[in-house]
């Protein structure tokens, strides 16, 4: 497996705070990778660097062999990186289907003149886009909710809709920022199933931030851990779970030893 995304020495500084500190990470194609770490560890900042919202001071980000540094967010999306947000950021007054159509925006070609004249090609493209949008909503499990205004959707459905919107741009790499946050167990189950299907059926590489350890451990093929902006561990879920620095970061140094013993018993 080749690396789809390669993060090299990426550092992001806000004033005196180094939010992301010299992070190296490789993400294999068609893999599911989790990024974990305590609050404020710099996980979302790293995501923002990947999607062009922040520009890292140092480092290189290679996606599919070419650099993402200095590109605008929409250019990065065009290359095949899409994301969801920690605090849901849908286009609230638009319907579910319209949200997914905006997701497809840069994959649509027709000119604005053709929209005024309603040429047959433009009409055909719109029809196909709607069809694809419905397909995606169906894929994430929102069939029959196409015309619902997105703020009126239940919380769990809003998270699913964010995934569908991200899929609209036909991404190769999907960044999910805490997809299961605030979900009940059955919704979490649905989300985990969706992540698997994303990879298996759509061939999308998934890179996710998650706090729910049950999700992380059962879903990921590899796990990276950030603490104070630094990557402190990387490996399979089992390796990371046993890593002392990780336990220390999560629980503090004094309990680390006890906890390590407890983990061994698990």
């Amino acid at each position: 497996m080749t690396a789809l995304l390669s993060i090299q020495h990426v550092t992001k500084v806000f004033g005196g705070l180094t939010a992301v500190d010299n992070v190296d990470l490789e993400i294999a194609e068609r893999s599911i990778t989790s990024l974990i770490g305590p609050n404020g560890a710099g996980k979302t900042t790293l995501f923002n660097c990947l999607t062009g919202l922040h520009r890292p001071e140092v480092g290189e980000i290679l996606f599919n062999g070419s650099s993402l540094i200095g590109l605008r967010p929409d250019e990065i999306t065009e290359r095949g990186v899409a994301r969801t947000y920690q605090n849901i950021r849908l286009f609230g007054r638009m319907t579910a289907l319209e949200n997914v159509l905006v997701g497809q925006h840069l994959r649509l070609q027709s000119s604005h003149w053709s929209a005024v004249l309603r040429t047959s090609r433009q009409q055909e493209e719109e029809r196909a886009a709607r069809e694809f949008g419905r397909e995606l909503l169906d894929f994430v499990g929102l069939r029959g909710r196409e015309e619902v205004v997105s703020t009126n959707l239940p919380y769990g459905d809003q998270r699913l809709l964010e995934v569908a919107r991200a899929l609209g741009s036909r991404p190769l790499l999907l960044l999910l920022d805490e997809p299961a946050a605030g979900m009940n167990p059955s919704e979490t189950e649905r989300m985990m199933d969706l992540v698997h299907r994303l990879r298996d059926e759509k061939g999308v590489t998934v890179f996710l931030i998650e706090h729910d350890m049950k999700v992380v451990m059962s879903i990921s093929e590899s796990v990276a851990v950030l603490d104070y902006g630094e990557k402190i561990a990387e490996g399979t879920p089992e390796e990371v779970r046993a890593n002392e620095r990780v336990i220390e970061a999560y629980l503090g140094p004094e309990v680390a030893v006890e906890e390590a013993a407890g983990n061994a018993v698990d």
């Binding site: 840069l106 929209a115 609209g168």
Partner: protein, 631 residues
Amino acid sequence: MPLESATRAVRTGLIAFAFLSYLILIGIPGRIGGPALPVLALIAALFFWLILRRESIGQFRQVSGVGQDSSEGKPGWEIGPQAGANGSRVRELLPSRFGTPLVLKGLVSGVTTGLLVAIVSGIFATAMGNGVAIQPVLDKIVPLNIAALIGVSPGQIAQSDVSFIRFLVQVLLFAGAGILAALVAAAGRNEPAQNALTGRLSAHLSGPTIRSGGRFAGIALPFVLLVYIAWLGLPGVTAFGTNEGTVRLLLTLIATGSGLFALRLCRPGREKLVVAVLLGLGVVTMPFILDQFQNSVMGLVFIFVMMGLGLNIVVGYAGLLDLGYVAFFAIGAYTYAFLSAPFSSPYISSLLILLGISPESPLLGYWMALPVAMLTAAVGGVLLGIPVLRLRGDYLAIVTLGFGEIIRLFMLNLGELTNGPRGILEISQPALFGLTPVDVTFGLLSSQGWIFLLALVSSALVAFIANRLNGSRLGRAWFAMQEDEDVAEATGVHLVRTKLLAFAIGATFAGMAGQLYAARQINIFPENFSLFVSIDALALIIVGGIGSPAGIVLGALALKGLPEVLRGVDEYRIVTFAALLVIMMIVRPDGILPSPRRRIQLADPEEAVGDSDQETGEALADGDGGKEEDQ
């Protein structure tokens, strides 16, 4: 009727009377003349309605329970002070679900006001009849004023010849106003916003039969008005005596506005198409029927419709608050002026000589100049757009405000290029194949009628283009940008291109409007393009309903048309107009005809989702309104 609510109803009546007495003291009835009493009663009805309407809403919320509010994301205490905090009020309001106590309250308020008006006008009339000098103290209390209030002639006052019946009529009129207000308030409860005036009223009255009758009446209304306007235009027929011109202008405004409501009442499909075509034909015949003055007002209204539609792209679709929109209007107007007026600046002349064109005016006719004016305005739009790309909200508003002023000051101070404050005179009129339509139609179409017709056709074109763009991927990108700029960009929307397109297209439409405005005015001066034009354009789309083309037409009718009708009440014109605007914003805060999106946002989630089980819940909560839905 519990004592508490009776007191409140009486108090409402007293406040209404206090307001009316102010109107009487400043001499409004005398100015209005004959129909003064019904007008005052209507004003009182409006006031009663504003009060009763709030009561009915408070009661509705209370009955509907708390769950709805939490799902709407509003804090629960928002309705508390109105209804929830007062326990006795809740109990008392519950039975009023079916409208009766509301009517009773309206009646009590109306009778209170009516009695007071009758007593006061009676006292004044008696005093005047006995020769008591009131005028030195209250200078507007003259026999003319009081006579209009009672509905008699000033002579009858002087001779103390006023029958008791007159005062009874006063009381009855105000009582009727109270009942009307209560009925409308009861009908307006939690009705979806798309129910237009007639639909709303009829929805209350009773079952489906009357409702469909109301719908039919709503659709028929503009046609009836149009026929009436045409009839008024026939020689020798006068209906309202001296005020005929103004009345016809008012009717024209109402006919156009109610036409838009009628379109909303239509079922989509063939019915809508037929009504739209007939209405279109009706509106297109208007320029031939109206006189010069009425046409010039309607022309201005539709020039502002074009402005509003253009600004709506920037503000309503893309969500960029532009307060300097007049700049593009001015650019369009001056471009056409340069190209078509005899005035020629040394700069332009030398430029033309350089290009090998003889600097004889007019250079270009209206149609040839149109693309130039549009293009110049579009370039202006892009030039403004580039520096403000990174600005949002308030900052954007301030910078654009400055841009609008810069262009005006440019026109004012660059005397050699623009003739400064002396303006550009004798701008040529639009022709059609070298003929002016005034000649072609043998005078049937006046020069202002021709401008009105052009404004109508251009507005229709602009509305068509704006609508198509809004429905395309560009429209979605605009709206996404308005919702969340960062996310839109991360989702794949090219912000720079999308924003500049909004500015450029909006400016193009303003340029078209500006050119037509220059042709309408014949002479233009820098002060025609003050900040107030921007404010008017922005106000009309807010009043009409942001994002809704039909609403913008209504907004323009109300903001540019109504002030002309109100000229009859001269010095109170602006006050009256302001009062109308305030009432409008209280009653319909999302505009007269809001866009579907706005409605979605403002409506209860239940309404918008339309799930069957949720609708049942709403029907239970809604009392009579919901029951009708079930029938």
